[in-house]
């Protein structure tokens, strides 16, 4: 999957699952915590993004994905 498509998935999953969050390219490098994504939302976002991209993200890998960009890169690499 190319980066652009992965970014679309991640942005849409963040907006879908985190109340009031509007995503834009300039926010992709921010930590999820700084974007107001709490620990439970993070689990949901990573799970939903993985499912939408058709990939499995292990618990260990998921723990390291603390910015939208890192999730995008992970998906794009698969």
């Amino acid at each position: 999957m190319d980066r652009e498509e992965a970014a679309k998935i991640v942005m849409s999953m963040l907006e879908k699952n985190v109340e009031g969050l509007k995503m834009s390219e300039d926010k992709m490098g921010e930590t999820l915590e700084n974007l107001g994504v709490d620990s439970l939302d993070m689990m949901l976002v990573v799970m939903d993004a993985g499912e939408a991209a058709g990939i499995t993200i292990s618990d260990d890998e998921a723990e390291k994905l603390d910015t939208p960009d890192k999730i995008v890169e992970f998906i794009a690499k698969q």
Binding site: D38, L40, M43, L44, D59, A62, E63
Partner: protein, 307 residues
């Protein structure tokens, strides 16, 4: 035919203010209230035990239902945190306290959050195979005994409770269909390390949201029912956030799936019976129950009202 005749529960008098616990763990109170969904956790006091809580639940059952102890032929108790390390099996201690007859089968089963759905099937099958007419299924899993006081992932979540269900040949609800699943390879997600509970929250969350909905749908299919044919969905009360998302992902009508853990927390195998006790007064026609957790183990069953 055997089935559920009546049910009662017991919450210990001791409790923990979960919002004060949130402060102790430097966790946002709103997160604990809205996302975990728990403000108070019932907790065993020093004098409480699996046996005493089970007896208290039985006394509560006797207030609703006339029960002759001499007629009880089977006692099954579900716990993974028994008194005296489970030796003797706690159902035998309950048997003694209740003064039940010698012609009464007693055994414990060790399951966590799937325990009630499993336990119902186990006791009904055992009783049917042996021609028994009245039995008691207890659940009591005091996780406060195994919580690490420094672990906010578990301390903010689990509460203590007990329940008892009267199984009889004059039931209000009988089993229509059930499925039982296990993913032993994932068991590290919820396990005891030494004497304390450890939980991988993400692994449990993924399991609950990815595996359990599939089983719920399979049970409905095998019973040839659709979501709209079920009057009540009793889902194990793990946390508010997990339940809300499970309901959404499974396509369950939210008004049919109560989320009621604010004053109890996650009471393991007692969470479904606590809900069922409250809901039975409304006489739902068809009930789907789904319990999931330690194991990883999950079980879903459909019970229908006897007309």
């Amino acid at each position: 035919m055997l089935g559920i005749q009546s049910i009662a529960s017991y919450l210990p008098k001791g409790s923990v203010d979960n919002l004060e616990q949130a402060d102790r763990f430097e966790t946002d109170r709103e997160f604990v209230e809205q996302k975990i969904g728990v403000t108070t956790l019932p907790k065993f006091e020093a004098q409480d035990s699996v046996v005493s809580a089970s007896i208290a639940a039985f006394k509560s059952l006797c207030e609703k239902q006339s029960i002759d102890p001499a007629e009880i032929e089977c006692v099954v108790l579900c716990t993974q945190n028994p008194d005296n390390g489970g030796l003797p099996h706690n159902s035998a201690l309950v048997h003694a306290e209740l003064g039940l007859p010698e012609d009464c089968a007693c055994f414990d089963i060790g399951l966590g959050c799937s325990g009630y759905v499993y336990g119902l099937s186990v006791i009904q099958s055992f009783m049917a195979a042996n021609g028994m007419k009245k039995g008691l299924l207890f659940t009591c899993d005091p996780y406060s005994r195994i919580l690490n006081p420094e672990d906010k992932n578990t301390c903010l979540l689990f509460g203590d409770a007990a329940s008892v269900t009267l199984i009889s040949d004059t039931p209000r609800y009988t089993l229509s269909s059930a499925k039982f699943s296990t993913k032993g390879a994932g068991s590290a997600a919820l396990h005891k390390n030494g004497s304390l509970l450890e939980m991988n929250g993400r692994a449990v969350f993924n399991f609950a949201l990815q595996d359990v909905p599939k089983q719920i749908k399979r049970v409905l299919e095998s019973a040839e029912l659709k979501m709209e044919n079920v009057d009540l969905f009793l889902l194990h009360q793990g946390s508010r956030f997990m339940l809300e998302n499970m309901i959404k992902r499974t396509g369950i009508p939210a008004d049919k799936a109560p989320i009621r853990l604010s004053e109890t927390g996650n009471t393991v195998s007692s969470s479904i019976p606590l809900l069922l006790e409250k809901e039975l007064d409304n006489s739902p026609g068809t009930i789907l129950m789904s319990g999931f957790g330690v194991g990883l183990s999950w079980a879903t069953a459909i019970y229908t009202q006897v007309k």
